[in-house]
Assembly symmetry: C2
């Protein structure tokens, strides 16, 4: 399960991407129904990690620091929720050896979860905020979920 915080972060970024100019925290919070003070922390964190930029004082606000198609879900999730890997010994950003699985490379469980991690990263590191901008597909026969990715859409 991804955290509520991560969901808020993604929703805020989608909101910022939709709006062409910058938005105030309160504006985003209201529009997305996110607790204001909680959102402050999230955006501050995203700022520290170079995803968004801010302006203080009157007429202040937040804006994306890069085009939406360069902000991947994976990057946001790693900032907010930490490693994507389901085991510490599979994490790229926070590798930690399993204290017990002594055989290491032979660890059967590790091998299985490596597949899970790879496929999760495959989706999350290729999907961007821009992909989330496209409006709902006509839904006529949008049954197949993992089919095609409209990656170069970028502008709604």
């Amino acid at each position: 399960m991804i955290s509520q915080k991560a969901r808020y972060a993604l929703r805020a970024l989608v909101a910022l991407a939709r709006a062409d100019d910058s938005m105030m925290i309160a504006e985003i919070a209201d529009q997305q129904h996110i607790p204001r003070k909680f959102l402050e922390q999230i955006l501050l964190d995203l700022k520290h990690h170079g995803i968004v930029a801010s302006r203080r004082g009157r007429l202040g606000g937040y804006g994306l620091l890069m085009p939406p198609d360069q902000i991947t879900f994976g990057r946001v999730l790693r900032i907010v929720d930490g490693p994507i890997a389901p085991l510490p010994c599979l994490s790229r950003i926070a590798y930690r050896r399993c204290a017990d699985c002594q055989t290491e490379t032979a660890c059967e469980i590790r091998r299985v979860f490596a597949k899970v991690a790879d496929s999760a990263r495959d989706v999350l590191d290729r999907t961007t905020i821009a992909d989330a901008l496209v409006e709902e597909v006509p839904a006529a026969d949008a049954a197949k979920p993992g089919a095609k990715r409209p990656s170069a859409k970028a502008r709604a």
Copy 2:
């Protein structure tokens, strides 16, 4: 991240699968370096869910209730850690509507994580304890991780 508890559960099941006959809790705990009393809870839970069977009293112990190739990682994880889906609104076993994402079917974030959930389930519901039994592959050129699945291997 999957829980320590789930890792213990999988390791215990692998140990039980390797041993042809039943094993005592203490035996598994020692062999796998799992806290004994914690393992008791885990095995009891797995028993309540029909994965293992037990015998009490002297000469007691635990044994698998079905062949290893019929125990999927997904099933074990759902018992121990709960839903695999990264969002409640994507869970099959514990669906819960997101309070905020009002547009529901149009939720962009949901669409992305649906892909993640599908690919995770694809791996976890197809991999069994039996798959974890195969010893380390020769590693000559086992570089490609998501390539082929030895699904019909079944017996080591």
